[in-house]
């Protein structure tokens, strides 16, 4: 075993008895994924209650993402979501300074997370049929979380989540320091057309195929909570429609698995929130602008040396695919079903 994991094993063995209520034997400790900012370890252990299969999520020392929650806050959020019946992994405790870095433990869920496999594998056909309704139900549960119990979430107290979202993206684009007229056109359109659609809620912030654990019968868990914030429900509802998250199956607008109608209908049925096509369009465009800026920022992590990686580097060159999608969405006529869209585009014409 490598010295790093040997040291980590010793630290875990010292800390876990207090967390799990008695002596703990670690049977297996192996790295699942590692980047410069975050690591995930698989931990198999025997606790007083019996054998446990866990994931240790641990900071890796590199600079973390600007808008990400701290591991302590992410753990608190996952705990609150799990307590409230969201399919989040069961958390087993926050471990500050676990041999030098903060960490937390949670249940290891089983299934598939890789988007390009979820949209294609024949054995996941049943899951793909079940996911649209399950995703709506999970989003409704997340959006019903009590923000008062999560006062650390970014966006708490913001007057307008829509304006906050746009201003945040402009600041991030400025930090990249490159001219991108297509993204500017998207932002200019959003300033005219993106509205707050209702009271601000707890949003997951990265709810899409790729961040969901998918088992043969469907959704097994919601992962990757670090970009949660207080925002508009449409931020979460439209994000899994963004073309980049269809993994090449572009005609199935919901994550490459289905059209979006079943998800939208089920979400409206549970929450009583009717979703206007024009708002869905505007928030899908916001999602594309968010991912275009996100791609450029990921490439900057490589270029600035925060995290050297060919996967991050290439995103700087693939951002133009997202720019093309932004331009395409700007050309699409506003949905005729929506009086809001007609009124807004009429206003837009008058002010030009």
């Amino acid at each position: 075993m490598a010295p790093v994991s040997e040291e980590l094993r010793k630290s875990l063995e010292a800390r876990l008895p207090a967390l799990l209520g008695g002596p703990v034997q670690i049977a297996k400790l192996s790295l699942l994924a590692g980047g410069a900012s975050m690591e995930a370890w698989a931990v198999e252990l025997r606790a007083p209650s019996g054998p446990l299969s866990l994931v240790l999520r641990r900071a890796a020392g590199g600079r973390i993402y600007q808008d990400a929650l701290s591991l302590e806050h992410e753990h608190a959020l996952v705990a609150e979501a799990h307590r409230s019946g969201v399919k989040a992994p069961r958390p087993y405790g926050f471990l500050p300074d676990l041999s030098g870095h903060d960490a937390f433990l949670m249940d290891r869920l089983h299934g598939e997370t890789v988007g390009r496999r979820i949209v294609r594998l024949p054995e996941l056909a049943k899951a793909r049929a079940a996911l649209p309704v399950q995703m709506a139900e999970e989003l409704a549960r997340i959006h019903a979380l009590d923000p008062a119990r999560l006062p650390f979430l970014p966006g708490t107290g913001a007057a307008s989540p829509a304006r906050r979202a746009i201003d945040g993206l402009v600041a991030q684009l400025d930090s990249v320091g490159e001219p991108h007229p297509a993204i500017e056109l998207g932002i200019a359109w959003l300033r005219e057309n993106l509205r707050d659609t209702g009271p601000a809620v707890v949003v997951h912030g990265d709810f899409r195929i790729g961040n969901l654990m998918v088992a043969p019968d469907g959704l097994a868990g919601v992962l990757d909570w670090e970009f949660a914030r207080i925002g508009d429900v449409l931020e979460d509802v439209a994000w899994p429609l963004v073309k980049a998250w269809r993994f090449g199956v572009d005609h199935l607008r919901l994550g490459g698995i289905s059209d979006e109608r079943a998800m939208i209908a089920r979400y409206a049925e549970i929450t009583g929130r009717k979703i206007e096509p024009a708002d869905l369009h505007a928030y899908e465009l916001l999602g594309n602008v968010r991912w275009a800026v996100g791609s450029l920022q990921q490439a900057q992590r490589h270029l600035r040396g925060d995290e050297k990686s060919v996967e991050l580097a290439i995103l700087g060159r693939l951002a133009c695919e997202v720019e093309h999608e932004i331009l395409h969405m700007l050309e699409e006529p506003a949905s005729p079903a929506s009086p809001v869209a007609e009124r807004r585009s009429a206003q837009h014409r008058e002010t030009r």
Partner: protein, 124 residues
């Protein structure tokens, strides 16, 4: 004049190595995926070498015509960068010309020609 293989041929040789030997032979799916990403990066670099003769000057010309600017005399890549910043400034100020969307689309299609030509060919 460098001896052969030239830069393009070297990129192609390494791309082939990554695709056929590293990716195909990898048992770790993460390594296989990264090898394919790396091979794609080299494909982009190769297309950029071929297109580099023409694409910055094409972008500069589109922007000059849109913004009604005279040629600055700077190298095309520098000129395109400066004009692109000027266009961004005008879009934010709400004073960009009415033909902006069409011009920006042509520029983005030019970027896709190097970065992702298949993206342009795919039907919606």
């Amino acid at each position: 004049m460098p001896d052969r293989p030239d830069a393009l041929e070297l990129l192609e040789a390494v791309r082939g190595f990554l695709e056929t030997e590293v990716a195909k032979g990898a048992t770790d799916p993460r390594l296989r995926f990264r090898a394919l990403v790396a091979a794609n990066a080299l494909s982009i670099a190769g297309r950029e070498l071929v297109l580099d003769e023409t694409s910055p000057s094409a972008e500069a010309r589109i922007l000059r015509e849109l913004l009604r600017e005279a040629p600055s005399g700077a190298p095309p890549a520098e000129e395109a960068l400066a004009l692109s910043w000027e266009l961004c400034r005008r879009i934010r100020a709400g004073t960009s010309p009415s033909e902006t969307a069409g011009a920006v689309r042509r520029i983005v299609e030019g970027k896709l020609a190097a970065a992702s030509p298949r993206y342009l060919q795919k039907k919606r």
